[in-house]
Structure formats: structure tokens, C-alpha cells
């Protein structure tokens, strides 16, 4: 009886440990994605917005001025 209980506890603890590991890895992956990620179709509207500002002349780059 005690053996079975011990086994059951071990299985539950093992499952919890694995679940925590999966959760933690997934959480970090999502956080990293929030922090740093590629620009693709999902962010097309944002990129298009920035491009429009450049093309319309609304945004100018920083520049280096050549003295006369």
C-alpha cells in the first residue's frame, strides 16, 4: 500500500516538475518574442505605417552635416 502511494506521489511530482518546465520555457519564449522578434506579415500594418512616414517626407533621417 505504502509502495503504491509512494509511486503515485513520485508520478505526480514528476508530472508537476515537467509541467513547470514546459510552462517556464513557454513563458520565456513568449517573453523573448515580445522583447525581440522578426517583423513579418503579423506586423505589416505597423511597418507600412513607418514606411509611409518616410515616403511622405514626414520622417527624415538623422544626418551628418558637411561644413562649407
Amino acid at each position: 500500500m505504502l509502495d503504491r502511494l509512494g509511486e503515485a506521489v513520485s508520478v505526480v511530482l514528476g508530472a508537476l516538475a515537467i509541467a513547470y518546465l514546459v510552462y517556464e520555457i513557454d513563458r520565456r519564449r513568449r517573453r523573448l518574442r515580445d522583447l525581440f522578434h522578426v517583423l513579418d506579415g503579423a506586423e505589416a500594418d505597423i511597418s507600412a505605417d513607418l514606411l509611409n512616414m518616410v515616403e511622405s517626407g514626414e520622417l527624415k533621417p538623422f544626418f551628418r552635416e558637411i561644413p562649407a
Partner: protein, 184 residues
């Protein structure tokens, strides 16, 4: 010939370009930018969106902007002033609180496939809550830009890097080591 580093044009750079925030004028060897035109070798276009939250990330960006600009002198940097940044955030509300955001457009990819496929990458610096994390994030970002500016497949490089980060994070968790902090 020397060139004088100028501040932002009148319609940009308020956020990073106020008198107090501007680094002192200095001289550098003549390079590729003249009268605001980027050189033909520009691989990237860099955008900085900063609506002005009083944050550690914002301060770190201000303090290191001159260096970032010098490291990326082959690529034009566009800084949205506070007004434009706020308008931008109003149009893209999900980004509020993540700024300063540095978005980098890969002109090579953009010219090939437009904005529907891969066309660059971005760093949401505002998610990094401490000055140390923000500085490390900015440095890693600058390093990535310099190291990959001639990459034949930038998307593959970025995804490989993200996989590596995920894998090393998993090992750290499994080994019960001090977790790699990314701004928490």
C-alpha cells in the same frame, strides 16, 4: 574632410533630440551620409519610437544614442518625436508601454517581398525594466546589427538565435541555475 554630427532635422528627434539629450557636437571622418541622404550601401532602416514614458530603458537609450548612431552610421536612423510616437501608439495600441521600440527594416527583404513576409526585426526596449537589462539589451541589439549586416539570410539568422536562446533558457531551468533575466 570632417563632418559635424548634426542633431535631428526639425521634424524629428524631439524625444532623443532635445538640447539636453543631444551629445556634444564632435567630428568624425567623412562617411556615407550627406544632407540626410543615406548611402547606397544601407542595408537597414532603423526606426525609434519613443512616446516618452519615464523609464530606465528610455534613459539608457538617450545616454547611448550617439554611440548607437555611430555604430550604425551606414544606415539611416529615423526618430519619431514625441508627438509622432504618441500618434503612432494611438494607431497601434497594443504597443503601448513597450517603447522605446527600435524597429529595423531589412531593405533587401523589403524590396523583395514587401511587408507581408519577413522584412526586419524589432526590439521592444521598454519591456526591460532595469538600466542594466536595458543596456545589455541595447548592446546585444547593436552587436546583432553589426554582425549581420551582410547576412545572406537574416531571417534564418534571427530564428536560429531565438532557438538558441530558448534552448539555453531550457537548460538553465533544468539545471536550476540562476535564470537568465530578460528584464524581470
Amino acid at each position: 574632410m570632417t563632418v559635424r554630427i548634426a542633431g535631428a532635422p526639425a521634424n524629428s528627434g524631439e524625444v532623443l533630440g532635445s538640447a539636453a539629450d543631444q551629445p556634444p557636437a564632435e567630428t568624425l571622418p567623412a562617411t556615407t551620409h550627406r544632407n540626410g541622404e543615406s548611402s547606397s550601401i544601407s542595408r537597414f532602416r532603423i526606426f525609434i519610437v519613443d512616446s516618452g514614458w519615464n523609464s530606465a530603458a528610455r534613459r539608457v537609450l538617450h545616454e547611448n544614442f550617439a554611440l548607437i548612431r555611430d555604430l550604425q552610421k551606414d544606415d539611416p536612423i529615423y526618430v519619431l518625436d514625441r508627438e509622432k510616437s504618441v500618434e503612432f501608439m494611438r494607431r497601434h495600441g497594443s504597443r503601448i508601454g513597450r517603447d522605446p521600440i527600435i524597429a529595423v527594416h531589412d531593405m533587401q527583404a523589403l524590396n523583395k517581398g514587401g511587408t507581408t513576409g519577413f522584412h526586419g526585426f524589432r526590439l521592444s526596449l521598454g519591456l526591460l525594466r532595469t538600466p542594466q537589462h536595458a543596456l545589455m539589451g541595447l548592446q546585444a541589439f547593436a552587436r546583432f546589427l553589426v554582425e549581420h549586416r551582410h547576412s545572406a539570410d537574416l531571417e534564418a539568422d534571427i530564428r536560429a538565435r531565438l532557438r538558441r536562446e530558448g534552448f539555453s533558457g531550457a537548460i538553465e531551468i533544468a539545471m536550476h541555475h540562476e535564470a537568465r533575466e530578460i528584464g524581470e
